[in-house]
Symmetry: D2
Subunit: 390 residues, 4 copies
């Protein structure tokens, strides 16, 4: 597909807020954005410490005068340049996403934002209104959404290969925080502090990922009501949960189930999505991402492999290395960023049809993630009872 | 361990009710009971059709005069013989278990009964009282409970290898009834008919298996409240469910989760139990029963293999072929029946301590299975709400 | 299929030589032979210590007067009885197989013998001539040959599902003897002593198993020449090997490859057979015996499961518990013994067509195993050179 | 580790020969070289068609005047510039590697070359002499050599975790060319034409990859003699093989085994290396590259995961995303190129100690690959006989 060929007309002038030295997520954003020449990193406010941020920017060959001390200055100064930035990625702690995202949109920029967009549906809707008014793209980095086999599953479902959909099971359950590791690790500490993390820990930080994957596979699905039970097995994390179960009843009778955990001792990420239809199921697991199980009732299980000709054309579009060789997280992110670039260009020329066809996690996905967490927390805090989805 | 050596003093004179020609479950009972010379099949009421039953019994070398037309005659006639039966196994449709089991106990017989024992806790308690009064064993065939690696997990948990237990996840979810196969298959039809199957389909028929495995692994665990959501994806099965989710809160704060299904399209049995502690997890899966995953947080996952010297002695007791060779369902059943025989002999000599040490699914397990299903149904029928465990 | 129904007209009166107390292999023979009522254990010379053998026989309910001190007495005395034995199984150390087998055939008995039948092709041919002359069955316990999915592979190949066969890869490579464990374990010691084990260790003891599986899958295949390289990584085992590689050129251009080892550190049995055709491959692995990989070039890999309706009828014949539940080694052995019984009955009535249709590892398989080892050793001892298959 | 931080002092000015539009391998080189800012693509002779090459170069933002029609012009013109290239990567058909590589070295350039370097040991030694004389790096892209878990295995072996090494098993066996697909696919056709591919197909094209992985894991190993049997199952490929087996005897008594194939129907790449010691084994498989099996005899198999703290520090150096997320081929290549850059810088300042410490596939690896193929072909063509390694 892409293979280094520039498909966007010209690389998008791009900046980052956050994601400085030592940030793993910042590295992922840069790897993804820069891979296909669809973005060019020209500015940034990389660090809360301006000097460290400037040094870091220079190491990435950003001109020193475009390494800004904060996002306000970044947006203001770049707006004055003829060659100012067109897009910005936000990779800061959760509590700052809303303000930065809002400021970026007000500055007329396209945005790529880490999830969650913000902490409340009200805020999220405010961002959506702003994005629509300014006709800007807001991409949310549900990274695996860019994986070829997720797109394959989406096409299979759309095509009826599974029959009528009955159940959607989602999981993101690792064990890395089985103990209170945050006490020794500041990089983890804010995630369990409601001031910086918002109303949830694993629901927002982990569960929204497979939740979005399911959304992407099944764009028509609507939750009618849900029930969430959450626990803080490491007691010092309360009121934030390190484990949760969510049951969902969808319009039309399908059932959803999600388990998310940071105390699933001994497990790696355990991110899985299984969709069960009246005829067949598909199952994808992020730790072995190059294989997709396709299980037709009464037939042998089939293991679909990334890159093979038997996949749907929409899935093969995203192939980078051909079958046999393994791709990983970075390719999924690269595909996502590449589509973000295509969407930004399309939006710039007013082609919203093209934007929609790209199937990216956009502002609607961002809003929906916040809404889902809000509903989960509401249910959990009322004693793990059913709540109508609002 | 056993390897054909007779450890029970003398084989127990044994009969079957049901399990005649074409019955898969009857075959499993006989394979298990007869393997170690601990039981001897001497009588039976194998079939609702007396002639067919007699023929079948003869093919098994049961004397024709001890092939009876029904269980009443069986119990009555055998009671008159000096060499009459000492134990009976019941492999008939669910709706008949209570009456036959009661009659057998009243006839002074030890019983091995298919689950569920009966349809209500009241009935189950009546059987328990009777068994206690008559000092008879009632074994329930939760077959995999006899598997060596289940016992290994039990010992690991008891020994603290997992740390404090936080979560128990159970699953038995196959896809064989994704369509209404019962319409063409009488052997399946009664399972979805409340008159013969009782108040549930997959909860009683499937879920009680992993539920008991968890009970065996964690004998101290007590449910505080539970919530069950059940569905009939094949609509003609209503009110009986073909899919269900159960959330459980245990005394002490641990959480339980169970998924059971007959419409998990494309899956084989999918019977799994995962126990998660503060330090490590274990996971067992019936389709690859010779391996047990042991996952210590921060260490490489370990794959424990059946038959190896590194297992606990209590697990190795049940080994039949040594490591490397695969054992399957039949060995688990054989181990179970062998322990039933030891329990019957111990009970006959009044040694209840020995009975308890055997760790078998007994009348208490039978009662608990019925109780759990009853609670699940109560929750589900009230709209999938939390109910205090009663 | 079988499920306890007696298909042989009457159980065959059967004895064992060897396989006494503590013998794992003896236990396997009894479990297999007795399971389907096709054999009845009525006599034996179970132990080199007559008293211990008699005690053991009695524990199995063999009449004390039919527990003999040695095989000579067993054959002589039983020949005098009207209800004397019809068949005998031989589970003694390798060096004794030839003499016992010969005596049994001369006594007019059907034989089931552990592999290897003997140590030289000359001896093997002598047994074959004798068996043919007396019209007796000699079954060799290549146990997994009775596994349903091996038969499935055989039918797939016969049916052309794989296209033209190009390669056959065989493996039986465990790690249990990575150190000189035989120094502390008399049960293992004879296996590495040429006086008792014959001219090879792992070639004869392990490799002949997957070699026979391949023979069963591909009955038409003929070796043209082979090359064997063998090693004694534990030096004290020389001249017997604990590791070997064999390359085979077949008539018609197909290639064979076999690896066998007792020093494959950390591995369980590692018994695998992969057959590669111009269109597709199949692969079977004894540690997960309920799954067969079917890999059609250009299509998703399919995992075939034991017991499913999509298998060939010839495979489903051997099913005992239905799909979903795991079967293991014992079921494979039971299927084998059941077919041995059918073959013995058919031979008794002179129906050699029926015998051949059963597809059992018979005297020809026994001879071929000895021949193959002899060729391997000849090649290895000449410096791992190619030898024409003789 | 790297995470976008520039560790090389300044990016190396870099060009490509070949790897133009539609080239998958060219894309891999660019992804790898450009990821860490250690190389900057400033020139190229990307295509045999100069116009197409220039267009392609421009799409990659290479100045049009530095997109040259052929490698001779590239080297000559760049030599005249003050800011001329310092390094070049060669991604052209095999038959051209020698001439281009030689010209590049003569032009004083560092080189990264696709394997095989050339077709004969004589040529390879000529390149080695030239590289040594000019003190230039020649890197060979055995891509997976950059994978973190390969380095982990190397450290484990060096550290004695496996005990004394007994066997090395290598495999690269896919099924994509089970039919004569080259007849319809020019991109594949040259691989089976001796004029362009050299004396072998799968031995050179596939087998040298796992062969180098083993070399990297076990740098001290020396082959004493080897035997190679090769086949052309698709007859039109003769004399080039599409399947081969190689047996190797190493100095000191260890044994090597390698299987390579393009007709392993239904398999993906099947690239595996298993190293077996007296105490334990390790096994790595490129299709699930984030897991390394570590099998200590008598202990449960351990699954080591990429990115975990329990790995050796030398392995963790190469981590890019942390444990749990999957990495793939591109990360391995990126690590390799990053080390190439470090090696080039070190060589420029004359620090050969630093070069050696990097553990890269260098000119010696390139020569050894050619030598190994030459020995294999010599053996095969003499009738699959043992040849002393020369």
């Amino acid at each position: 597909m892409i293979q280094g060929d520039l498909k966007v007309t010209a690389p998008i002038r791009w900046a980052m807020v956050g994601g400085g030295r030592g940030s793993q997520i910042g590295y992922s954003h840069r790897c993804a954005a820069l891979r296909d020449n669809s973005f060019q990193l020209v500015a940034g406010a990389f660090d809360i410490d301006p000097e460290r941020g400037r040094e870091f920017g220079e190491s990435l060959r950003v001109a020193p005068e475009r390494c800004y001390p904060d996002y306000q200055t970044l947006f203001a100064e770049e707006a004055r340049r003829e060659d100012g930035i067109q897009a910005v990625s936000i990779a800061t702690p959760n509590s700052t996403h809303f303000a930065i995202c809002k400021a970026a949109l007000e500055a007329g920029l396209h945005v790529v934002c880490e999830k969650p967009l913000c902490f409340s549906v009200d805020e999220a809707e405010e961002l959506r209104a702003l994005a629509q008014e300014r006709r800007r793209i807001v991409g949310v980095t549900y990274g695996y959404a860019g994986h070829q086999l997720i797109r394959q599953a989406r096409e299979m479902i759309a095509n009826g290969d599974l029959g009528e959909i009955r159940m959607i099971h989602m999981q993101f359950a690792h064990g890395f925080h089985s103990e209170a590791v945050e006490q020794a690790n500041p990089g983890t500490r804010w995630r369990v502090d409601p001031r910086y993390a918002g109303p949830s820990y694993v629901l927002g930080d982990l569960a929204t990922h497979p939740y979005y994957i399911a959304e992407m596979m099944l764009p028509e699905l609507r939750i009618k009501r849900l029930l969430c039970s959450r626990q803080s097995f490491v007691a010092s994390r309360a009121p934030l949960e390190d484990n949760a179960y969510v049951l969902m009843e969808y319009e039309g009778g399908a059932m959803g189930h999600l388990w998310t955990s940071a105390v699933n001792a001994g497990s790696m990420h355990g991110q899985k999505v299984r969709v069960i239809g009246s005829r067949a199921s598909v199952e994808w697991w992020d730790e072995h991402p190059n294989q997709l199980r396709y299980e037709v009732q009464g037939e042998p299980v089939r293991i679909l492999e990334r890159g093979m000709d038997y996949l749907y054309p929409q899935a093969r579009e995203d192939d980078r290395i051909g079958a046999g060789h393994p791709e990983g997280l970075f390719e999924a992110w690269s595909n996502l960023y590449y589509r973000f670039a295509l969407a930004m260009e399309a939006m710039d020329r007013g082609d919203t049809t093209a934007v929609e066809a790209l199937g990216i996690p956009d502002i609607d996905a961002g809003v929906e993630g916040v809404r889902w967490v809000e509903n989960c927390v509401r249910s959990a805090d009322a004693g793990a009872v059913w709540v109508d989805y609002a």
